[in-house]
Amino acid sequence: MELHQLTIHELQELLSRKETSALEITQAIFSRIHAVDKQVRAFITLTEEEALAKAREIDNQGEYGRIAGIPLGLKDIFCTRGVKTTCASRILENFVPTYDSTAAGKLFADKGILAGKLNMDEFAMGSSTEQSAFFSTCNPWDFTRVPGGSSGGSAAAVAADEVPFALGTDTGGSIRQPASFCGVVGLKPTYGRVSRWGVIAYASSLDQVGTFAKDVRDCALVMNIISGKDPLDSTSVDLPVPDYSASLDGNVKGMKIAYPREYFQPGIDSQVQEAIKKALIKYEEMGAIVDEVSLPHSEYALPAYYLVATAEASANLARYDGVRYGLRDFEAANVIDMFSRSRAEGFGEEVKRRIMLGSYALSSGYYDAYYLKALKVRRLIADDFSKVFAKFDLIVSPTAPTVAFKIGEQIGDPLTLYMNDILTVPINMAGLPAMSIPCGFHEGMPVGMQLVGPAFGESTLFKAAFAFEQNTDFHTFRPALEVK
C-alpha cells in the first residue's frame, strides 16, 4: 500500500513508529492529487505550500497526536482563515475569511493539515455537485457519473485517495448521498453535536457538520475531535462527548434493528434494495434482531423539507448583497439596482430557484399554508422516529434510491434531482444522527446503507457500522482510477 491509500489510524501508527513523517505523507497526498485531480476535479483550492510548511513544523515538534501530520480536505463551505472560501459560488469567488470555522479550527488545533478546499453544489444546494459555479466533480468509480452532492468534492477526494478524510455538511443528505455514491463512510451527526459556527449557512435548522472517511474507525476518530458544545453556536448542545472509538467492539448481539417499509418502495432501485436486505441478513447472522416498522409520515418529508430549507435559505443568503464583501456590480444606477444586479450575476440558477421558493413560502398570506404547515409535518416526522426508537436501537435503509447517475442526466429536471434526498431528508427534519457505509455494488458502482440512530446516539451507529465492516469487505474496495 502507498501512503495516500492509508487510513488515518494506519498513518498514525506509521508516524508513532517514526516509519514516516508528516512531510512524507503530505508530499504523497499532493502527488496523488496532482496525478488524479485533473480528472476527478474534487478541489477548488489547494493549499500545498502552507501544508508542506505545516508538515515540516509538526515533524520538527516530533509529537504526533490523533490527527497530527495527517492531511485533510474541507468542503468549501467551511470558513478558513486566510484561505479563499467560495461556497462554490461566483458571489463569494474571492472571499477570504478572517476566521476559521470551529470544526476546522479544532482539526487544525489537533495539528491536522489542510490540503485544500473541496467542490460542492453552490451553497450546498444540489445532489450532484453539478451546481458548482465553477465545474462538476466526477465520480472516481466512473468519470461519466456524478459523485453525488452537495458535498461531492469531499466524497470524491476521499474515494480517490486524495485525502484520508474530509469534512462536509449535510442539510438533507449532502454527506450521506455522496458517501453512498462514492463508496466511502459518511456521517451526519445529531443536530447540535458539532458547531456550525463559521460554516456558511444554507438552512440553519437542518445544517449539520459531519465527516467522510475510508472506514468507520477513522470516522469515529474525527468525530471525537470535532464534537461538542461551542459557546459561539447557541444551537450546539452541551452534552458530554463519549469516546466514539470505544464503541467499536464489533458486537451487535441483541441489537434491535428496524427497517421502515416506506423506505423500500418501488421508487427505490430493486438492486439497491437487494443490497440492503442482504446487509440486514448479515446483521441477523451477527446476532441482531431485525424487524419491519412504519414511519407513516415519510412521504411528506420531502415537500416539507423543501419549504423549511428554502425558507431559511432565502434569509440566510440575503446577506450577499455586494455591500460589504463578495461580488458587487459597479454598473448599477442605485443601491436597489446594485443589490439586484450583484445577486443576479452572483447566484446560479438552483440557488435563485430556492431563494424564490423560500421567499414565496414565507410571504404574507402563504406563511400558514406552507411554512407553518411544513413545521407541523416536521414535528410528525420526528414523532414517527421517536416511536420507533422507543423499541429499537437503530433504523436501517438504503441511503439513496439509486447508485450514482450520469453527469447531465438529471440536471435539467430539478424535481427528479430533489428525489435523490427522499431517504435522507426525514433524518434532518428529525435532527437525528445517520451514517452511510458501503454495503454492495450495482452496475459496478457502490451502494450505500443508511444507519439512523436516536438523538445523540452516534455511538450506536459506530458500533453497528463497525460490526458490519468487520464482517464484510466492501470498505476495502477502491476505484481503479485510470490515471492519464
Binding site: 440553519s204 447557541s234 444551537t235 421567499s359 414565507l362 410571504s363 406563511y367
Partner: protein, 482 residues
Amino acid sequence: MSKDYEVVIGLEVHAELKTKSKIFCACSTAFGAEPNTQVCPVCSGFPGMLPVLNEKAVDCAIKTGLALNSEIAEFCKFDRKNYFYPDLPKAYQISQYDLPICKGGYLDIDVEGERTRVGITRAHLEEDAGKLVHQGDITTTPFSLVDLNRSGVPLLEIVSEPDMRSAQQARAYMEKLRSILLFADVSDCKMEEGSLRCDANVSVRPWGEQKLGTRTEIKNLNSFRALERAIEYEAKRQMEALEDGEVIVQETRTWDEGKGVTRSMRSKEEAHDYRYFPEPDLPPLRIDRDWVDTVRKSMPEMPVQAGQRLMDQYGLSQYDADLITQSPQNLKFFDETLALYADAKAVSNWMMGDLTRLLNQNGMEIQDAKVKPALLAEMLRLMADGTISGKMAKTVFEEMFVSGLDPQTIIKEKGLVQISDANSLLPLIDEIINNNPKVLQDYKNGKEKAFGFFIGQIMKATKGQANPEMVNNLLKERLNRE
C-alpha cells in the same frame, strides 16, 4: 384641539439598552467611536457567523417589563424580519414577532390634573441596524458610506395601546416612560443621540365614534417637542382632510422639523412584507421565575414610588413630584439637598425654577451642574436666617451656577449681606421721614402710595441690602407713632 373630532394616539418607542456589549456579539456599544471600529464578523453579517444572546439585554428587558407592570413571558423566541437595506448587514433584523418578552402592562400619566392610564401592548428585544453616511443630501449624494458601529446594539421596542387623546398626553407618556427607563437604569435615553426613538400612530374620529379612524405612522421624531408638534400637525391635517371630504390613507409619514409638517413616505401598498419566521440560530428563550425574582430584587426605586414618597412625606403636589422624578439624577439632587435643608417646597421651587432654567439655557444635565446640593442648601439657610433676601438669593444662585463657589464667599465678594439690624435701620427711617414732611402728610391723609415711597427711599439708601420685611415692620411702627 377640535370640538368635532377626537385624536387617538399610540406610540412605538425604541430604547437602546445600556449593555456594555452588543446583543449578539462581544463588540462595544459605546456611542461616538470612529466609524466601523466597533464591529466584528457577527455584527457585520459575514458568512457562517451566528448570534449568541447577551444575557444582560434580557435582564434589561425584564427590568423594564416589571417597571411597566408587564407580564414577563416564561417562553419567548426570536424571529427574523427580512428586508434589504445597506445598513442591515444580514438583510434581516433579529427581532421578536409573535412571542415578545413582555406582554401587557401600563403606565399612568398626569396632564393638567387629570390622570390617564396608558396600556402597554408589548415590549420586545431586537438588534439595531447600522447607519448610512451621505455626502450631503440623500437624493444627490454620489455615494453613501456604511457605519456598522450601531449594528447589533440591543433595542427594546415598547408598543403602547392607542390610549392617548392629545399631543400633550403623548408627550407626558414619553416623558414618563423615559423617567422609568432612566430609573431602571436600562437606557441612556438620549433622544439626540438616538438612544431613545419614537414613532407615533395617529388617527382622528368624530366624537362618540367607537371605531378607530385610519391611522398614519409618523417617523423621525427626535425630541419631545418634535413629537408634540408632529402629532398636533398630523391631527389637524387629518381633521381638515376629513372636513374636505377626503379619505385618510394608511401610510408612513415623516416629520419635517424645519418646515413643521409631516410628509408621506410610503403607502400601505408599498409597505414591506417582512416575511417573519422563527430565528433558527437561536433556541427559544425560557425565563424561569427565579430569574425574574432575582431581577425584581435588584430593582431600584421607580419614579412612581419616588413621586408618591415626595407627596406623602413632604406634601409636594403631583406636578412637583413628577418634575423631580423626571430622572434619577434630579431625585438624587432633591434628596441630598433636603437632607441638609428640610424645606421640601423651597428646595423643589429652586430646582424647578432657577436651576432648571439655567440648565436648559446651557444645555446641561443636572449631574454636570456646578451647583451641588450642599450649596443650594446653604443658600436656602442664609435666606431663611435673613442674611440674604430672596432677590439677593437669585444673584447668588446664578453666580453659584457659573462658578460653583459657596454662597458665603459670593455674598462677601459681592457685598450682598442683608441689613437686618433695627439699630442701624431706625435712624435711617427717621431721617427719611423727617426730610419728606409732604409725603408724611400724604400718608396721614390716607395715600397708600406714600408708604411705598418711603420703602423705596430706604432700599435705595441701603443699596437694596435692607431686609425688606424688617423695613416694612419698622416703618409701619414708626409711622403709627406720628
